[in-house]
Amino acid sequence: MWNKGKGKKERGDLRIGATEGRRVVIKVNGRPLLAREGETVHGALLAGGIRGLRRSRRLGEERGGLCGMGVCCECLVTIDGEPDRRACMTPVKDRMEVETDES
């Protein structure tokens, strides 16, 4: 009923409402991605359609954020050259460079 129409929201846009956070640009694997201040790296990547963040050690499976609160370490990415940073615990900053384990 109310939920189906989706209102003015663009289909596929995961951002809620008209956010007022300042726009920032981060680089993900060398490609620019638009984000808003106040978002975590995990959130910004998700909104950018990037779910797979790392490859698991033994099976090489693609993994994405699970707990969202810094416990599970499934969202480890390289941020500004520093490896194994938790995407869910790191707020985005303008010109931040993020690298995921791409296939």
Binding site: M1, N3, G38, G43, E61, G68
Partner: protein, 490 residues
């Protein structure tokens, strides 16, 4: 600064920390609050916390969208429930007092003998403090049951999905399947809907009979009933299927969740034959209640005990919330998961116990303490009800394939765990040494509790004799260069 500058160190500024801050505010003692997060207020007040200015100055990160974005009955949500408003005010008042210091983004790496707290400051420097008292309010994390495909990107915890909305203002997916047990499935389903997201279905593995006990709670849980009714109304008014006694069998997709296979489940945890139903979606939010974060208390030497009524290991405490270690108190979810109400009461109680020893707290201290002890008993009864909803069913692992990954960090499968148990490794600690489960980045925080349950099922041993994974400092991952640069212990 001298190592004994602070009289009290409180680890965690969630609901229990807020309670402690309320009692310590303006008293004659110096209190330091530490929180790993960049905000105060813990998970409940995430997005409401203070100390982090909202971007753009004006934006209210309330976790609830602005009115014009709300749909259906959710439009009226703000009128009836704002469970956090009061706590937010307490926090604001208390944190402004001169006797209270807050350090955000600080991680406690361990607690050594004689209450030596090893802290890593936000910039990476490591130092020690020696307060007279410590309150451990380390909170809880989500409990999971593994299933086929639960490692696919797009499978997220219920709490994780809520955090995305509260903190980043981002929906967990375009179309989300919400599944698991406990009140959180309904609150998340309601929140996604109110924020304009699509929910494919809300699946709860328990049945109506399990929830009857809610109405026998004394004192009656009016505010919680109101919250639940509101979420339910949002879901039903939006035409979202809400199904009880259903569980997730498998998440499927190429490199990410595309569809979710579910089935009816009986109380023992076995699937009902022929009841499979598949939902499409790009996100699956799952969770089965919460378990206490025991690593720091355990590393401090506090004795852990198994509480049958809460179905989990907890930090053992006396009536005043002191642990087996003199001067170290525990409050909130670490003493048994019961939600924000219990944590708030326990944070206050622990603070009053400390104030009594310090000789402060005013004339009414004893009366307040007695009333809090009573309130805590009521909260523990509610905690037992929550635990009854989230208990892991007897046959939870029986029908699971050997290929299902249990330890996500080290990629250890259920088959390997079964093999280790068959070889005679009968605690999570032994299984870890035998096959590396729990040795990865999360240090067994995710798989450890599952392995406890698996070992229990396979050996037939009671949960109270299968201890959780041991924990030694550093209990958080820390870079070696940070440790190397550490100032020597005075």
């Amino acid at each position: 600064m001298r190592a004994d500058y602070f009289d009290v160190v409180v680890v965690g500024t969630g609901a229990a920390g807020v309670g402690a801050a309320y009692e310590f505010a303006g008293q004659k003692c110096r209190v330091l609050f530490l929180d790993e997060n960049g905000h105060t207020g813990g998970q409940l007040l995430r997005g409401y916390g203070l100390g982090k200015r909202a971007p753009g100055g004006k934006r209210e990160r309330s976790g609830r969208p602005r009115k014009d974005k709300e749909k259906g009955l959710g439009r009226f949500a703000g009128l009836f429930t704002d469970p956090v408003k009061g706590r937010r005010k307490i926090l604001a008042d208390a944190l402004g007092r001169p006797n209270i210091t807050v350090m955000q983004g600080a991680r406690v790496l361990g607690i050594y003998p004689e209450r030596t707290v090893c802290i890593q400051a936000p910039r990476g420097g490591i130092f020690n403090l020696k307060p007279r008292f410590i309150i451990l309010a380390t909170g809880a994390r989500e409990r999971f049951l593994p299933f086929k495909g639960w490692t696919l990107p797009g499978v997220i915890s219920l709490g994780g999905a809520q955090i995305l909305m509260k903190e980043s203002w981002i929906l967990p997916g375009r179309r989300t399947v919400v599944a698991g047990a406990g009140p959180m499935v309904f609150s998340l389903g309601g929140a996604i809907t109110r924020n304009g997201g699509e929910v494919a279905a809300v699946l709860d593995s328990t049945g109506p009979s399990a929830k009857k006990e809610f109405f026998r709670q004394w004192p009656p849980q009016f505010s919680r009933l109101k919250e639940g009714a509101l979420d339910m109304a949002t879901l039903l008014a939006s035409g979202i299927p809400v199904r009880q006694r259903r569980m997730v069998l498998e998440a499927r997709g190429e490199g990410r969740v595309e569809e979710v296979v579910t089935a009816g489940v009986d109380p023992s945890g076995r699937k009902v034959p022929g009841s499979e139903k598949t939902y499409s979606g790009d996100c699956l939010a799952v969770g089965r209640g919460f378990i206490p974060n025991l690593e720091l208390p355990a590393s401090a030497g506090a004795a852990l005990t198994y509480r049958d009524d809460l179905g989990s290991w907890v930090v053992g405490v006396d009536e005043g919330l002191e642990t087996s270690e003199r001067g170290i108190f525990a409050a909130g979810e670490t003493t048994g998961v019961g939600g924000g109400g219990k944590s708030l009461v326990e944070g206050r109680l622990a603070a009053l116990s400390i104030l009594r020893e310090l000789g402060g707290g005013g004339a009414s201290l004893e009366a307040r303490r007695r009333s809090l002890v009573k309130k805590r008993a009521a909260e523990l009864r509610f905690a037992a009800f929550l635990a009854s909803l989230c208990r892991v069913p007897e046959a939870a692992f029986e029908e699971l394939d050997n290929s299902v990954v249990v330890c996500r960090c080290e990629d250890i499968t259920l088959g390997e765990i079964r093999e280790m148990v068959a070889m005679g490794f009968h605690t999570p600690g032994q299984v870890k040494k035998a096959c590396r489960s729990g040795m990865g980045n999360c240090q067994g925080r995710t798989c450890g509790p599952m392995i406890q349950e698996i070992v229990g099922r396979l050996t037939g041993e009671a949960p109270d004799i299968i201890p959780p994974l041991g924990a030694r400092p550093p209990v958080k991952t820390v870079r070696l260069d940070a440790l190397a640069a550490m100032a020597p212990i005075p």
